[in-house]
């Protein structure tokens, strides 16, 4: 009776907020290709520029994931909040996922727009470094042995703190990427592009939220399973 309650309770809570959220994400992703298709072509890059509609939002999702991981790691390390660790590992996995999306769509865009797959431009390079940092996080958790959660949390903290320095130093080191202004100037030079971009951005952020919830649920169920194993052994 008790065991059945825990699983069912979790499902009911999830269902209330989860399904409406899921439906919204579904609707947005369905509408996105249509809106992107109808958006005007940008004058210098043509069709390939449309990658921008999901390349940039995937970076936004990655930064959100990094923020979640960094804050959760700080709470876990300094306040000892065990549930924060679940969010930390989920944030790290999602940072790696969305970072990978950005790192693949970026070169695809670059290959067509500038002729080379990789050009050491500031954004892509610092994104690559952040990706490496969070892959290192996952490696520490997997291969570090017992007590690796704290080590990984420290890595995440340092990684998040390094992010602005990485970006600034790589930026000064090389600058080829279309500058940050491209998002702000969209409104004036291509008013019709602002709406599909906003849609894609919101869709990606919502997708991030959905995936985060899923992954945290997995982490929590794993903890519950561990508790059950311990209870079993104590009998």
């Amino acid at each position: 009776m008790g065991g059945q309650g825990t699983t069912a309770e979790g499902s009911i809570d999830m269902r209330k907020m989860f399904v409406p959220l899921l439906v919204t994400v579904a609707a947005m992703f369905a509408a996105a290709p249509v809106m992107i298709g109808r958006a005007p072509l940008e004058s210098t890059m043509g069709l390939i520029q449309k990658i921008f509609y999901y390349h940039v939002p995937s970076w936004m999702a990655m930064y959100a994931a990094i923020a979640v991981c960094g804050v959760a790691s700080a709470m876990y390390l300094f306040k000892g909040r065990a549930d924060a660790d679940d969010y930390a590992v989920s944030g790290a996995e999602l940072a790696v996922l969305f970072g990978l999306i950005g790192l693949v769509t970026g070169p695809l865009w670059g290959r067509k727009a500038w002729g080379v797959w990789w050009q050491w431009d500031a954004r892509l390079t610092s994104a690559l470094l952040l990706e490496l940092i969070f892959v290192a996080y996952l490696m520490v958790r997997k291969f570090g042995g017992p007590g690796s959660e704290k080590l990984a949390a420290a890595t995440a903290l340092f990684g998040t703190a390094t992010a602005p320095f990485v970006y600034k130093s790589v930026d000064i080191w090389r600058t080829v990427h279309p500058n940050t202004g491209v998002v702000r100037t969209l409104g004036s030079s291509m008013p019709d592009a602002a709406r599909p971009f906003a849609l894609s951005a919101i869709a990606f952020i919502l997708l991030f939220g959905v995936l985060l919830t899923l992954r945290v649920r997995l982490a929590r169920q794993q903890h519950a399973l561990d508790e059950l194993y311990l209870a079993e052994e104590d009998r």
């Binding site: 470094l129 007590g147 990684g159 320095f165």
Partner: protein, 226 residues
């Protein structure tokens, strides 16, 4: 009390190291071998590519530094002295500072050998026309690298796969240091030395150092506690 503890830790490490000079000598020799490998990799027709000296210097520092970090803390692990240190009624952060100072001393000696060697082998004698700026870049970069490295090496002491995890964790996070160090030293190699660029990178390096030493001091305590 804080400073005394830190200096005591430094003296202890220094005393141990002085007996056999094991870590110092092996690190120095490794750094020299590194530079030699790069010489064979990059020198073509008797000349190295422009600015190669800056990159080679910092890569050698990074690799040798990682090795030294691993070896120093391995020593602690082997004799189980880390637990003894942690049990001591001393502020934990002071232990970190003591270890950091030891690391800085070691890397300082290594750089004292590496910089002239690289300058000699890769035609970078222009460095010595601006010794103060060169020193500032070296200090800024080394402190940043050592600060993060000491923390990570200490926290990995009890972890599995620590030998390979240290570089995996350390290198991406210290990339700003490497960039700053290389660009700063490369600026000093320009025909009239580019003091403006060098000073800019020195500024960035010291900002990085401030943030990361502070962060390391904060996190050392919770990390070392079970």
């Amino acid at each position: 009390m804080f400073l005394r503890t830190a200096l005591l830790v430094l003296r202890k490490d220094f005393a141990i190291e002085m007996k056999s000079l094991e870590v110092l000598l092996t690190t120095l020799f490794f750094a020299v071998s590194c530079v030699l490998v790069f010489a064979f990799a990059f020198v073509k027709d008797g000349r190295a590519p422009e600015d190669a000296a800056a990159g080679i210097l910092w890569i050698a520092i990074a690799f040798a530094g990682t090795l030294a970090l691993g070896r120093t803390f391995e020593r602690e692990r082997y004799s189980e002295t880390l637990r003894a240190l942690l049990l001591a009624p001393a502020p934990r952060a002071a232990l970190y500072v003591g270890k950091l100072l030891g690391m800085l001393a070691l890397l300082g000696v290594a750089e004292g050998l590496l910089v002239p060697l690289v300058a000699l082998l890769f035609q970078a004698s222009a460095w010595f026309s601006r010794p103060l700026l060169l020193l500032a870049v070296l200090v800024g970069g080394t402190v940043g690298f050592a600060a993060v490295g000491t923390l990570f090496a200490a926290m990995l002491v009890r972890a599995r796969s620590r030998d390979v995890l240290l570089p995996i964790l350390l290198y991406p996070i210290t990339i700003p240091v490497i960039i700053g160090g290389v660009r700063g030293t490369a600026a000093l190699l320009a025909s009239p030395a580019d003091e403006v660029t060098a000073t800019m990178w020195i500024g960035i390096l010291f900002a990085f150092d401030a943030v990361f030493v502070t962060l390391s001091l904060w996190t050392f305590e919770p990390l070392m506690t079970e």
